[in-house]
Symmetry: C2
Subunit: 209 residues, 2 copies
């Protein structure tokens, strides 16, 4: 196994460009087999010490979905309080989560106390377990996008409250609350850039030592 073809690499660049955070979903369901195929990507992800510390909860009950949405709304109102003037107005106009419409809510945790991998690689930097989970989420996200599915990562949440609502074990920390569904529209430009919140740097800065 050496390099992949130029054609594959070009298409992969296109996938990376189109893989944006999605907050506008159609409400129609995602085929069960397709969802499972996307989630199964976790099994291909590398992890520190082969610890596979990801823990996945699919939130299906209407009550728990509503609690998660309420959690977001409260956290978002508090975040808005941190802005003033024009910026507050712009923040208030942003759509930062598609939780209401997205057919699937998937909460991803890291088991910080897993014995799998016997701690290898995670003694000096225990955050490597969570970073392994983040890496796996990113692979799944790309696979979903290759199927045309959208993923939105909601981070405006009171994580401890969410963990209480989902009754997770005490050693699990929330890494991501994901919305999954068919996107209403597609774009290769981040929505925050489109609406003028922030721009992307045009060149990458690399320091040398």
């Amino acid at each position: 196994m050496d390099a992949f073809s130029k054609d594959f690499r070009d298409q992969f660049q296109t996938l990376l460009a189109w893989r944006r955070d999605v907050r506008r979903f159609r409400a129609d369901p995602v085929d069960e087999a397709l969802l499972m195929q996307c989630l199964d990507t976790f099994r291909l992800a590398p992890s520190v010490g082969l610890s596979e510390p990801w823990r996945i909860i699919r939130v299906r009950s209407a009550g728990l979905r509503a609690k998660a949405i309420q959690n977001y709304q409260t956290a978002n109102a508090r975040a808005l309080d941190g802005y003033a003037g024009d910026q507050a107005e712009r923040y208030a106009g942003l759509k930062l989560s598609g939780m209401q419409e997205a057919p699937e809510h998937i909460a991803i945790f890291c088991d910080d106390a897993t014995s799998k991998g016997s701690g290898l690689g995670a003694t000096t930097m225990p955050e490597m377990r969570r970073y392994s989970v983040v890496g796996a989420i990113n692979l799944m996200w790309l696979v979903a996008r290759a199927h045309g599915l959208g993923v939105g990562w909601v981070s405006i949440l009171d994580a401890p409250a969410l963990c209480r609502d989902l009754a997770t074990p005490k050693d699990w920390s929330l890494v991501a609350y994901l919305c999954i569904g068919w996107p209403e529209t597609s774009s290769d430009t981040p929505e925050l850039e489109t609406v003028g919140w922030e721009t992307r740097q045009s060149t990458l800065h690399i320091e040398e030592r």
Copy 2:
């Protein structure tokens, strides 16, 4: 832009399977343009609030490379002390870093205090900035592998000491110390599995609530 072709998706699965942590590098150099092309993947990565908090240092001086290697060796000797009996023997036999041979050392940091993005999405979960950096590293890793290049993520390090040696600003935290180069061999099986340290789970467990 809808779904990608079945052929592309199949090849992408193959890429995911082959993208393993590499610790055995050939010492010959990586073409400069190719290295820059791989690193440029950071510019396509999503980030919380469009904060683009990644900071990249290419470690080229022999003195700083040697310090980083010494840092790893000390941390690894300390990690070995945490194991006993058979496990200690097995740990001692593992090759956990290719820092000595790898032609490129790239240290990746997160600027936890960046004002870019104006804090959007990172108030409730400030770790989202570091998670954005981790995501970007994973994309770069895949692009490198698509070119046949290997990447190894070294986490057995005293991160504060490394930051001191590289004289990084106080708000930067080390996310990853990466070795990049041409792999000596290729495998779709993690080395820790090959040597019997740990096995991968054969099925993904998904809880429902």
